[in-house]
Amino acid sequence: MLKLTRKQLRILLFSILLFALFFLSISLIRKPVNASLRRPLGLAGLLKREAAGIIFFHRNLMENQSLKRENDFLRNKINSLNEYYLENLRLKEALAFKNKSPLKLIAAGVIARPADNWSLGIVIDKGSYSGIRKGMSVITCLGLVGRVIETTGHTSRVTLLNDPNLGVSGIVQRSRQEGLVSGTLGGNLIMKYLPEDADIKTRDIIISSGLDAAYPKGILIGTVVEIGREFSGLSRYALIRPAVNFSNIEEILVVVQ
């Protein structure tokens, strides 16, 4: 056992106390010391960095160029992955609709649009080899899109619903009021030949009637946004906002049966 004299013990205790006080004081003096050293240390760091920048200029330049290339590559990759992700979402939606729907459908992608302003249509990447025939109706999971007017082996042309050449027999879902829906080359569709006492209101939903046999019954066409009187005064018309945004269709479903 270590035996200490009274004097040694006093010195030891005093040393421990001094040591403890020193450590306690460190936390108190750290802040002012740090604050006073911040500027000189910052300046030293800056000088060091600038000196390193000059000394390793070439290495940094090469590294910078390589990182820029990598950055561009990764940006491109992110963009393409984002595009794949969005396509995946759309296709999943279309597939879910296809599985739920009682109709026999063929999915196709849009590859081109008409070159003029006087017709509205799309060219799709499936044709007669995939079983698509002239006159088949075209839909998306949101609603009616149009009708196939021409097919080749691998492509088909579809006239969109907002083309004035296309007419669809539609009914008001609520009141079963019939009318002929056709395009205006504008953003809205028009439901014509409504009798004076037609039971139709704004925000009514219009669906295909199935009467003209070209389109399956019950496919959503759009919502009534305005009702007006024809110029002749004999009948009324309703403007319909289509359920499908025709300007950004990328994938469609062709109703085969």
């Binding site: 649009r113 003029d116 302003n117 083309d163 205006t184 080359l185």
Partner: protein, 158 residues
């Protein structure tokens, strides 16, 4: 001048016309980039290559139109021919005058196509007919003006 830049421009504009131009609609109308290419050819090329550009653009436009096949294939070379005749008699040197000429021709072209459509039984509301007629022509003329300015820098068109 060499016809290659104008041929490349025509091919590029043809591709743009049937693809992404849908996203550059202004009040629901697109510019007719094929007509821009045709007139670039009419002003900067000799008659034969300009007619070739006109014929290609016309056939291409007809191939990607849903109705009235053949109209553009006839009209575009006709505009090239008339522009060449006019350019021989009247000096049209500055781009603004050329753009104004295109505006007039685009209006006429749209009017012919629009009236032919109406004649075939398509019922077009008057407002939409006029909107397409006027806005599309102005948009086309503006695109021509921009195109020749860009081409002057890049391909040295004079």
């Amino acid at each position: 001048m060499r016809p290659q830049p104008v041929f490349i421009l025509t091919a590029l504009f043809a591709l743009l016309q049937i693809t992404i131009l849908e996203h550059f609609k202004f009040f629901g109308v697109r510019p007719d980039l094929l007509m821009v290419a045709v007139f670039t050819g009419a002003f900067y090329l000799r008659l034969k290559p300009a007619l070739a550009v006109g014929l290609f653009a016309g056939i291409f436009k007809d191939a990607f139109s849903l109705h009235l096949f053949g109209f553009n294939a006839v009209l575009f070379p006709l505009w090239v021919l008339l522009t060449a005749k006019l350019a021989r008699r009247v000096s049209i040197e500055d781009n603004l005058s050329r753009a104004l000429l295109i505006l007039a021709v685009a209006l006429l072209n749209n009017l012919i196509i629009g009236l032919a459509l109406v004649y075939t039984g398509v019922s077009l509301p008057l407002g939409i007919f006029i909107r397409i007629l006027i806005l599309s022509s102005i948009y086309t003329a503006l695109c021509f003006y921009l195109t020749v300015r860009v081409m002057a820098k890049w391909a040295g068109l004079r």
